[in-house]
Symmetry: C2
Amino acid sequence: MASEFDLIARYFTRTAPAGLLGVGDDCALFPVPPGEQVATSTDLLLEGRHFFPDVDPKALGHKALAVNLSDLAAMGARPIGCVLGLALPRLDEPWLAAFAEGFHALAAAHGCPLIGGDTTRSAHDLAISVTVFGAVPPGQALRRDGAEAGDDIWVSGELGAADVAYRLLDGQYPADASLLAATRGALEWPQPQVALGLALRGIATAAIDLSDGLLQDLGHILAASRLGACLRFADLPAAASVAGLADAPLRRALLGGGDVYQLCFTAPVARREAVAAAAQAAGARVTRVGQTQADAGLSVLDPRGQPMAALPAGFDHFPAA
Amino acid sequence: MASEFDLIARYFTRTAPAGLLGVGDDCALFPVPPGEQVATSTDLLLEGRHFFPDVDPKALGHKALAVNLSDLAAMGARPIGCVLGLALPRLDEPWLAAFAEGFHALAAAHGCPLIGGDTTRSAHDLAISVTVFGAVPPGQALRRDGAEAGDDIWVSGELGAADVAYRLLDGQYPADASLLAATRGALEWPQPQVALGLALRGIATAAIDLSDGLLQDLGHILAASRLGACLRFADLPAAASVAGLADAPLRRALLGGGDVYQLCFTAPVARREAVAAAAQAAGARVTRVGQTQADAGLSVLDPRGQPMAALPAGFDHFPAA
């Protein structure tokens, strides 16, 4: 059986790119482009809460980094590197090899090498902490508090599939193998919108990713920017795989469904062409779904232009008792 | 009961210092001094493995940050800020308030504000991930691979108390209230040697902290620098509280005892006065305990100058089966 140090060396030590000091000292070291700031985000993922115990470890390695890269994307920051903490209930080498493969592949795709980490044994559950670092010039970060009344509200990609896959796997929806096959990729292999975030610098007035669902995450932009908003339900970019759902699960998936690593952002009406050009340059689909307004409150209009009632709540790890 | 967002706001949102964007966006932002690199370290601490379930939460908040600040100290980096991930099995507000108090007090003492985080609910155990950021000019970091043959080996502070406190609390040693009272502070309230690390820039040739114990951590310097070493057991700075122990537990405590957030560092013989001046400026005690050598291997000489046998092993989270 390998020791902790062998284990770290085997799966998590890569030759650090020039200028970076990687795994194997008290700290990792990285340079920052002159004049830029560092953007950082951290996530702690737990078995049974953020992923199912039997999830494909390669997908898990991918997703553990993807959710953090998505935070850099939502800030308009260019990835620099990341560190990983792993608490493992047992030493399962094939599992680790697959996890590392998924993690390193996404890291390489986004120029975000693993430069440090901590491996430990856990008593019960698997826990994964990832912290990413990126760079952004001062004043160019896509913050939550910059939206203006009358801005368009945009969403990238498609919505709804991750929520449906989660509820199928969790047994909340009756088993449906073909629906699961059509939605599972969105849940397990999210693609962080890093290129889009970079392209939206200087265009978007505010941005966030949809990790907690559209209503809740847009709500964060509105609260930080002291605005309200109106969304048009019919304009939401539903994934083809969920378009056939009944009303209630469809609303839940599109408005409340979290674990979506797409961006929700605002931009002035006058910048519609710039948004379209940025999306094209980034290879991303973007859809206008509503407007911000000076009046507080968030309403969603149904296809007849009437406000929808009984909107789904956002996700909260500690729901009110 | 408070929601996740209330909870984060209440205990972990502080007004970020000027120039930093703190908790409450997709990423935290921080500037880096012009021309300097970022040093970063991450640790994942688990209940039952890194701390006892009934530990004073204020001490735990202190220590969760201290172990990471110690990595910055061992690199000679100046703290900038930190992020915190917390997985909580339940929402216990007095516990959280005390944890936050211990964490923020140490953060303030070292100019290392909490700028981001992630709070989630865990199924079983409490898990804490902390990532710290610091700054160091290129080429001035105290790495592990810079020691030269013939360098002095130095240790800061005192050794042994944390190991004894741990074994008393773990039931490995018979209950001894006065010994526990004398040693417990070293285990639960470690003081990271940040000022000493900064003062040793340009003087120490290599440095590491003693989180895994003197033999193992010095072993990392020797492996990275391709050297051997000889330590003088009688010169090790034993804490007064452990000086009366029998031979075996004393060796174990001084040579193998981890969880010591003091520095072990090397420096040329010609820089002894510079080391002493740096330690005085930092308010730290430092002790010369041996010498590096070109020949591989690490030996410890007893007071008669004979190599000690049966040296304690270092700590490994995944010991060989």
